[in-house]
Symmetry: C2
Subunit: 205 residues, 2 copies
DNA sequence: GTCTATAAGTCGATAGAC
DNA sequence: GTCTATCGACTTATAGAC
């Protein structure tokens, strides 16, 4: 196989990712992907056979990469509060870097939640609920009396929610508050602080 | 104007709402809307001129209705904690009733955030940030020393986030935890309790 | 492998009968 | 107002030259 072909394949995938995230599964056009990738439309079918195949490749790749990036940012040591703050910061930074991805995944989840589930199964050795670092750490912290006995699952949902949702609403928020810029480091730091302080106080034993 | 015509127009709008929420702006098909509404495709154009017009009508109507339903459920009296608990319960019930709507709005917000902004301007007399009941109540509660001095804007974001996000993730969550049913009253009550307890403790002066 | 050209099908929109 | 029939534009996909 020609290394140039592999290179071109990656190029197409990168562009397809952008177009799918921008326009969605239905809105994306093979013509636009070809144009922006600087290749002919027929070449897309040569490499990926159909729009559906290309979409599946992009969707699965993005989900896998996203989960791995989050996992890499999770610290192993330290007490639960340290762990929590670092997790919040990492997660928010990742989401702020491409909120389009989260919006895309949530929208496409209507049909594609099985794919997300399969990726989680693979990454977390068959049992995401039991093996998720966050849930493991939270349970340990409760057992050790570091935090009060909340439901770890709901706690996890609460943390993810507060980290993600404002960035999904960003276009509206920036319209409502003209001085606001959700990509600004200061806003991100503010959110980390507000979320962490709320949790730290709300979880005290 | 024939009352039957108005009836048919409403029927089309109701079906169009379902199809747009299900398939999105691009994925929705005029043919499908016509079929499910039991009318001819040409009639859609007779009433609404184009797919774009029909979409705008549906989008604006849904946003307006959603905001009004939330506002109706906001209590006037009581201390901030009572207010908070009722707000959380109302908001979650509304979101749980049709998470598809929220998913749709967030996805379409890429282009449609101006519409959302216009509706908010209209409902809140030109200044949603100043006149939003939640922000007003939060500021008063801080001034009265009922809760500690957090940023009301971030507090609002946190509450909305925790109420909405889990229902956006519902398809995945139910796959991960087979016993989970996010439409079950018990899950909804659990979430209200977990969110309220976290906030009540996290906001103590 | 990469291109041009085109097939095959879909969809929004409209003309025109009733 | 409501229907049938069809146009015209667009999109995916492929055939075939190079």
């Amino acid at each position: 196989m020609n290394p140039l072909s592999t290179e071109k394949e990656k190029q197409i995938l990168a562009v397809a990712r952008d177009v799918f995230l921008e326009k969605g599964r239905q809105g994306a056009r093979m013509q636009e992907i070809a144009l922006r990738a600087g290749v002919n439309k027929a070449l897309l079918h040569y490499y990926f056979r159909s729009k559906e195949h290309l979409y599946q490749r992009v969707f699965e790749a993005e989900i896998t990469q996203f989960i791995h990036q989050i996992l890499e940012a999770i610290p192993e040591e330290g007490d639960f509060c340290q762990f929590l703050k670092i997790f919040i910061r990492s997660y928010i930074r990742r989401v702020a870097a491409s909120p389009q991805l989260v919006r895309f995944v949530l929208w496409e989840m209507r049909d594609g939640y099985q794919v997300l589930h399969q990726v989680l199964q693979r990454v977390f050795n068959g049992d995401p609920v039991k093996n998720s670092p966050f849930l493991v750490r939270a349970q340990a912290a409760i057992a050790a009396g570091e935090i009060r006995a909340v439901d770890p699952f709901h706690l996890f949902l609460n943390v993810l929610s507060m980290c993600v949702y404002p960035f999904l609403m960003a276009p509206l928020l920036e319209q409502l508050v003209p001085t606001l810029d959700v990509d600004d480091e200061r806003f991100i730091d503010q959110r980390v602080e507000e979320i962490f302080n709320l949790l730290e106080r709300g979880l005290r034993p």
